[in-house]
């Protein structure tokens, strides 16, 4: 366990979280190793998004341990965590209505070298180039999701937290996003993915964790097994 | 042998208890009010009561409806002017001139309230302040208000045409009755189904609307009642001091109602009265020190907002209920099941 722990990019142990007085996360623990794609699965309200928020420092109150590259971030501010190389793509995509697409794209500052340049981003997401001057919120759902992922790639962050990127999107767009995510994985990004779409998650993930009522209830270390995936799907739809 | 008397249920006993306590509280309050003019100058006592009505009316909106009406002096002041005018130039007896003043305050409250409620939150407050300033400038320039001098030498007259109110003591007991009427109106508004609806709107406007409550109508009704009681206070004050002046419609006066309520305890019944007593007393003592009153008022605002939001009565309430809270917490701890098998005996 210790070997795995020290080599993990993200090491979460006994994480408790609160929204105000509401205790929403209970002793959540998991690891994400470098270059891996790990998913947090679960029903609505299971605490998946809350876990991502906790890791990004956006939760009211946290207790426990979150090690990012060996550094404790449980008490750090969100902007400090971001500057260490963690990037966040929220569930509602977080596109700014008062900014154009290009301004949205250029907003997150460079925290280190190694981020994608503007040209590389436009190559990965060609339709964003055409819409550069439009108001951010005038894009379609799929385009907004692309924008949300695109802009955190410029910062130089190498660990991504993606919250339900395929939510509410048409199957053909979901396929595109799957392709993007696979390409990002190929480029060496470490990704923690929250998803309700099991089939999508199964296609891209190395490991699954299943959450329910703010607790980790299942861990599937080798995600490719079809039976296990079916099992989770049944369990979640029960 | 069985007793023939009916067994009192615990709920009924508790209700009877509460009613007894209420009657006791009212009795005590009235007793204190009755001896008040013997403890302080009657004129001061009357001033406190008029401002207490003013503060209570503000509290109805701020503490119970969640509406920060920052221009409440408009109703207080305009009633003061109308009463002064009607008593001095139309020869109305005190109860009629006060009614006249209150009526005008109610009409103004309906108009301004309707306008202000078109916006939510902080905009509402800014609108009420601006509308009150409009009233201020109107009173500054209109002929009947006497401009900077105001309306002076207002006769107190004879109550119902028979009881002379010239003496401060006689006037005090009249003011005390008026205060009790106004306070009772507030009390009945708060402790009624309407009061519950009002609190619901305060706590969650959207939720209240989804429950079918016409929040705009509710807010407007509360606004009109509040303006009326404020007017009652202002109208009475004009007869007490036999003067209506611009200070009664100034934004400083509006600020004072807020100060009294926040200091005494917004959302409590007696908080504004306590606040009125303290603030009026402070003004009386510090009047000789010029602008120190303003400075201290500002300091009280800052301290209250930062560290003392419950106000005096609110804090006293909380302290009084602490034993109950402790008892409940102890009970909860006692009844938490221990992780042991039940068949260990």
């Amino acid at each position: 366990m210790t070997n795995e722990a020290t080599s993990a990019v993200l090491c979460v142990r006994d994480l408790h979280g609160w929204y105000g007085d509401s205790h929403v996360l209970h002793a959540v623990s998991f690891d994400v190793r470098p270059g891996q794609l790990v998913t947090l699965l679960g029903r609505n309200g299971a605490g998946k998004s809350t876990t991502l928020k906790a890791m990004m420092g956006l939760l009211d109150k946290r207790r426990g341990s979150i090690l990012f590259r060996g550094k404790e971030t449980i008490a750090a501010q969100a902007n400090q965590i971001a500057r260490q190389g963690l990037a966040y793509c929220p569930e509602d995509r977080g596109i700014f209505a008062t900014l154009s697409v290009e301004e949205n794209l250029r907003l997150p500052p460079k925290i280190r070298d190694g981020g994608m340049g503007i040209e590389a981003i436009y190559r990965l997401f060609p339709n964003l180039k055409d819409r550069a001057k439009s108001v951010g919120t005038k894009l379609s759902g799929g385009e907004q999701q692309m924008l949300a992922i695109a802009r955190i790639l410029r910062t130089g962050a190498d660990t991504l937290l993606l919250d339900e990127p395929t939510e509410g999107l048409a199957p053909v767009i979901v396929k595109q996003i799957g392709a993007v995510i696979r390409e990002l994985k190929g480029l060496g990004y470490t990704i923690l993915l929250v998803e309700q779409n099991i089939k999508f998650a199964a296609k891209v993930a190395d490991q699954h964790y299943v959450l329910e009522n703010g607790r980790v209830v299942e861990h599937i270390p080798h995600a490719a097994h079809a039976d296990e995936v079916r099992g989770i799907a049944n369990y979640l739809h029960a | 042998m069985l007793m023939a008397s009916p067994v009192k249920t615990p709920v009924a006993a508790k209700a009877a208890d509460a009613r007894r306590r209420q009657i006791l509280a009212w009795g005590l309050g009235i007793a204190v009010l009755a001896v008040f003019p013997f403890m302080v100058y009657p004129l001061f006592a009357m001033k406190v009561l008029c401002f207490a009505l003013f503060a209570c009316s503000f509290n109805l909106l701020f503490g119970f409806a969640g509406l920060l009406s920052f221009g409440h002096a408009a109703y207080f002041g305009i009633a003061s002017y109308v009463t002064a005018e009607s008593a001095k130039y139309w020869g109305l007896t005190p109860e009629l001139s006060i009614l006249a003043g209150t009526a005008v305050a109610i009409v103004l409250g309906a108009a301004f309230g309707w306008l202000a409620i078109r916006r939510q939150g902080i905009y509402f407050s800014m609108i009420t302040l601006a509308l009150a300033q409009m009233v201020f400038f109107f009173c500054l320039q209109a002929e009947f208000t006497g401009g900077e001098d105001g309306i002076q030498s207002v006769p107190r007259g004879d109550l119902f045409g028979v009881i002379p109110l010239g003496s401060h003591m006689a006037m005090y007991y009249f003011v005390m009755v008026v205060f009790l009427i106004g306070f009772l109106i507030i009390y009945r508004t708060i402790n009624s189904p309407f009061g519950q609806v009002l609190r619901a709107v305060r706590d969650n406007d959207i939720k209240a609307t989804s429950l079918g409550i016409k929040t705009r109508h509710v807010k407007l009704a509360a606004f009109v009642i509040s303006a009326g009681v404020a007017g009652l206070g202002g109208a009475t004050k004009a007869l007490v001091f036999q003067l209506a002046s611009l200070t009664d419609v100034s934004w400083q006066a509006s600020g004072e109602a807020v100060l009294m309520t926040v200091l005494g305890g917004a959302g409590t019944l007696t908080g504004p009265v306590v606040g009125a007593l303290i603030v009026t007393g402070m003004q009386q003592y510090l009047a000789q020190f010029g602008s120190w009153v303003t400075i201290i008022q500002g300091a009280i605002f800052v301290v209250c907002v930062l560290a003392f939001r419950r106000g005096i009565v609110g804090e006293l309430d909380r302290i009084a209920h602490l034993p109950t809270v402790w008892r409940r917490r102890r009970a909860e701890r006692r009844f938490t099941p221990a992780p042991r098998p039940t068949t260990d005996f």
Partner: protein
């Protein structure tokens, strides 16, 4: 109507334009102050009631600096906003920050209290009456334009205020820094998650808004008397301007400010008794027709 015909027949172009110019000057101050309020409200979600007092502080500081240290107008124009702005930075950092989580009403009450503190303190030391502040020598006199006489100082105020308003608007709407401010106004938590210290941004924005008020104060000193009451007199009018224009828009604040000043000037010509109330009547009309404000984005 009879009065109106009288007025029109007695009207000279000179007087008419002169009055309009005065109105526009007032409008310039309304614009600068409501711009500052809009900036602060956008980032902090607080109605900065003490804005009027900070405007007064700017003027007071200019007067005090001149009286005690002989520091002239031009230096004060830079120094006063700097000092008052610094005071604003401290105020936000140590006092205002504590009420962000509360109902916005408390922000209004807190800043109201601070305004009382400031105004009361100055009134205690200096009394309520106004002190004159001399127009700097370079800006005295004026030009005869034929249809009116244009005092140099007033032309300066117009130019300076329009420039300042435009500069602030431009930075906010068209620059990269502005995009950060706009983003932080919209979704502060997400901007934090991008690595930006939003708290520091909020702090600096408040300081800037306060400095804006102070600059307006220095500009105002030679025109209106420098008095401890000048802040509270103007802040309530600015509130009405802000309701008319809507707090959500920078350009709305600027345009509404000048518009109200212009209307005030017009009213002074045709119906002088109403000139102090016309802004509130205008506000009432806007509320009837377009409750969100003329340029309102947030209802």
């Amino acid at each position: 109507m009879h009065n109106l015909m009288d007025t029109l027949s007695n009207l000279s172009i000179d007087a008419f334009m002169g009055q309009l110019m005065l109105g526009l000057i007032n409008g310039a101050f309304y614009a600068m102050l409501s711009l500052g309020l809009a900036l602060i409200f956008g980032m902090l979600n607080i109605v900065n009631f003490v804005h009027g007092a900070q405007y007064m502080l700017g003027a007071m500081l200019a007067w005090i600096l001149l009286q005690t240290l002989g520091i002239n107008y031009w230096v004060s124009l830079l120094l006063a906003p700097f000092i008052v702005g610094a005071f604003g930075l401290l105020l936000e950092r140590f006092v205002l920050r504590r009420v962000y989580a509360l109902d916005p009403a408390y922000g209004l009450l807190l800043t109201f209290g601070i305004a009382l503190l400031l105004e009361g303190s100055f009134r205690q030391k200096l009394g309520s009456s106004g002190q004159p502040y001399a127009i700097p020598a370079e800006l005295r006199g004026g030009w005869d334009l034929g249809f009116m006489y244009m005092p140099t100082y007033r032309a300066w105020v117009l130019i300076a205020s329009i420039t300042i308003c435009f500069a602030v608007w431009y930075v906010f709407e068209r620059t990269r820094l502005g995009s950060y401010l706009r983003a932080a106004t919209e979704k502060p938590q997400l901007v934090r998650a991008f690595g930006i210290d939003v708290s520091k941004m909020i702090n600096l924005t408040y300081g800037l808004g306060v400095a804006l008020a102070a600059v307006a104060g220095v500009l105002a000193a030679p025109i209106y008397q420098v008095s401890p009451l000048m802040g509270s007199n103007i802040i309530i009018v600015v509130f009405a301007v802000v309701v008319i224009g809507g707090l959500g828009s920078m350009s709305g604040a600027i345009v509404s400010g000048f518009l109200v000043g212009f209307v005030e000037g017009l009213t002074k010509v045709f119906y002088p008794a109403a000139s102090s109330t016309v802004v509130f009547v205008l506000m009432a009309c806007v509320l009837l027709v377009k409750p969100a404000g003329l340029f309102g984005r947030r209802a």
